[in-house]
């Protein structure tokens, strides 16, 4: 697999490019997690576990959809099949991405993975019109990404809130897979239910006002989907 190479979209350099649509989202088939935003938790929660992990570069927490049990395994999007009734926005947006989230850059920069197999010069949707203006589809993607950026920032604030009130704890995840040794997944975090139940009234009110309860309980409910991953894995034959 070629490495992702996100570059700002350029009306000269990329003027002839078309984007094919891959309904099976093959680009994530070697990834066992993708970022998941707080507003998605409710819909996603019946499909796969939603957990919190630390980013390797910064140590900052992010919420993710756990799609596989080992490093490069994706049980949800694989072999052209989708074992989910919900597609995370961070899967749907591909091969596009948004950059320029920091305060100095008010304008969002639309980027594209130049190495994506979905890009070509004839098939699919045009990125630019003949006059160099973004196509209608590109404009829609741009609006979609701006919305994702805002919701990503809101998710960070949600996670900060959880940390500030000591509501996250390490999740112990261990499975017995057939005759093999126990499979232990490290580095996953979840909401501490006990701490949640012990919160003072005024914090509970804040949680309610910010509409965090849906996200929290969806996340907790989604932890049952580890069993679903195991079931898919049992019938799963890697290529």
């Amino acid at each position: 697999m070629t490495a992702v190479n996100m570059v700002p979209l350029d009306s000269v350099k990329h003027k002839d490019l078309h984007v094919n649509v891959d309904q099976s989202y093959g680009h994530v088939s070697k990834q066992n997690m993708v970022p998941l935003l707080a507003f998605e938790f409710l819909q996603a929660s019946t499909n796969f576990p939603i957990v919190f992990v630390k980013q390797q570069e910064t140590g900052k927490f992010k919420s993710v959809a756990l799609l596989g049990l080992t490093g490069e395994e994706n049980l949800i999007f694989s072999e052209g099949k989708i074992h989910s009734n919900y597609i995370p926005v961070n899967v749907r947006r591909y091969p596009f991405a948004a950059a320029g989230k920091n305060a100095q850059e008010s304008e969002m920069v639309l980027c594209i993975d130049e190495n994506s197999a979905l890009l070509n010069k004839s098939e699919g949707v045009k990125i630019f019109e003949g006059d160099g203006k973004p196509s209608k589809a590109t404009q829609e993607v741009s609006d979609f990404l701006a919305d994702i950026l805002a919701k990503d920032a809101a998710t960070d604030i949600f996670i900060e809130f959880l940390l500030e009130h000591d509501l996250l704890q390490a999740a112990e995840v261990k499975f017995q897979l057939g005759q093999e040794d126990d499979l232990k997944i490290n580095g996953l975090y979840k909401v501490n239910e006990e701490a949640l139940n012990d919160l003072p009234d005024e914090i509970v009110l804040t949680l309610y006002q910010r509409q965090y309860f849906a996200a929290i309980y969806s996340h907790l409910a989604s932890l049952n989907q580890f069993n679903r991953l195991l079931q898919i894995k049992a019938g799963f034959k890697p290529q």
């Binding site: 910064t58 140590g59 704890q169």
Partner: protein, 457 residues
């Protein structure tokens, strides 16, 4: 230190951000055994593999093993190599105060004091800055109050003397005698300097102590600068020569710096806790800063007081006796441990190093232990775990770092577990391989912590 800071409730991220703090994984001793800058050994903070269950030292002594696995520290643990590679003891994803490899800190002491002060004030401590002029004693000799220059009389039940070398209460008021350690530890002067980094220079993740003509130099990497110093014996060098030695050690960056030779007295008080006064820090005593024992003693003293703050004066007397007994043992053991760094030096061209290996400059306890170790590798029974600031592992690292060999030929039947020893040595190499690729460079981690902070969980 980690435990203390964390229990006070100071965030490790704040320590790194506000106190120029960096991680310390041990000390590297250069040119102590031989007068050669390429000769060194490590005293890392990780304990040897098998520590407490299986003693590897006798196996490391076997020629085939030390030829194959190298220096003692690198054969029995991987921290030596992590330090050599300039790597940090943890990752940005490792929670505050947790470690991949054991560590302490280098930091700017003034800034740490300020951080602790602010924390204390936020917890309700009334902080008064003033000069204590004298103390007022009651009939039983207990301090009732101190008289301050600006604030007048401050009454109290318990007084901690943190007045440094001045020892305003322990020395001026109570005249508690000072026990000199000079016959064991010769150094009596120090010169210090702050040296800027080169651009992109990595930060050493260990203290570097380099043996010099009449003492040793320290080299400590903070995040903003390096702290360097020369501790020397004025009986073995002139002050001018000491400055010359130090400037040579610093190199081109010494140009334009002016140095001051600061005298100090090695030793400690006959008592630290007298009546209702406890001396902590330099007022309790001072030893050359070879193994950061001063910091450990402060830490231990504070821990003791916080756990056993007496309910009344009757109890205080009993607790103070316990404290004094315990801390005298600690000081004696530290002196022996510091002395241990010198006693196997093979530097034969300088009086300082030759004088240091003379038996009469060692305590009776140390002489006994050295006699014992000639034929028996150090054992837990040789230390007093309740009082020894430096555990058996530290003794092993220094002793075998200096290439000491115990003659175990008459007891070789005790050391037949070669397979198990190989497993430890091999496992250590495997761990090194695994850990080395996952740890960040030390400076990179410090920069990341400044930027992103460490997580609490």
């Amino acid at each position: 230190m980690r435990k203390t800071l964390s229990s006070i409730g100071i965030s490790e991220t704040d320590l790194i951000r506000h106190c120029d703090a960096t991680f310390k994984q041990g000390a590297k001793f250069v040119s102590w055994r031989l007068n050669d800058r390429n000769e060194f050994y490590y005293h890392p903070f990780n304990v040897p593999s098998g520590y407490g269950n299986f003693d590897l030292t006798a196996y490391w002594q076997k020629t085939e093993n030390h030829e194959k696995y190298g220096r003692f520290a690198e054969a029995v643990d991987f921290q030596d190599q992590i330090c050599e590679a300039g790597l940090a003891p943890k990752k940005i994803t490792t929670p505050e105060y947790q470690s991949v490899l054991n560590y302490a800190y280098h930091f700017d002491a003034v800034k740490v004091a300020n951080l602790i002060k602010e924390k204390a004030i936020s917890l309700g401590v009334n902080h008064v800055i003033d000069k204590v002029m004298d103390a007022q004693l009651n009939k039983g000799g207990y301090i009732e109050a101190v008289h301050c220059e600006k604030s007048g009389v401050i009454k109290g039940d318990f007084f901690i003397d943190c007045s440094g070398f001045a020892g305003i209460l322990i020395d001026k008021t109570y005249k508690i005698p000072f026990i000199s350690a000079k016959k064991y530890l010769f150094n009596d002067f120090a010169i210090a300097a702050q040296i800027p980094y080169d651009e992109n220079e990595n930060i050493a993740c260990h203290t570097i102590a380099t043996g010099q003509k009449a003492g040793w130099t320290w080299d400590i990497g903070l995040s903003s600068r390096k702290g360097m110093g020369y501790v020397y014996s004025s009986a073995h060098t002139s002050h001018e020569d000491a400055i010359k030695t130090f400037a040579e050690h610093i190199g081109p960056k010494a140009e334009g710096l002016s140095f001051r030779n600061i005298p100090f007295k090695s030793g400690y008080r006959e008592k630290f806790w007298h009546k209702n006064c406890l001396a902590i820090g330099l007022s309790a005593g001072f030893l050359e800063p070879l193994e950061a024992s001063a910091l450990i003693l402060v830490d231990n003293s504070v821990e003791w007081v916080s756990e056993r703050l007496p309910s009344d004066f009757k109890r205080m007397e009993i607790i103070s006796k316990q404290f004094n007994r315990g801390f005298i043992k600690k000081w004696e053991a530290i002196i022996d441990f510091l002395k241990l760094h010198y006693v196997f030096s093979e530097r034969t061209d300088e009086a300082y190093w030759l004088d240091n290996i003379q038996k009469e400059t060692m305590s009776d306890r140390l002489q006994d232990l050295l006699e014992l170790w000639k034929y028996h590798p150090p054992h837990f029974n040789d230390t007093d775990s309740q009082f020894d600031v430096f555990p058996l592992a530290s003794i092993q690292y220094v002793l075998y770092g200096l290439n000491f060999k115990s003659d175990i030929s008459s007891q070789s039947h005790l050391y037949q577990s070669d397979m198990l020893a190989q497993k430890h040595f091999q496992n250590n190499l495997k761990m090194l391989e695994k850990i080395k690729s996952s740890l960040p460079n030390h400076r990179d981690l410090i920069e990341s912590i400044k930027k992103y902070g460490l997580q609490k969980i």
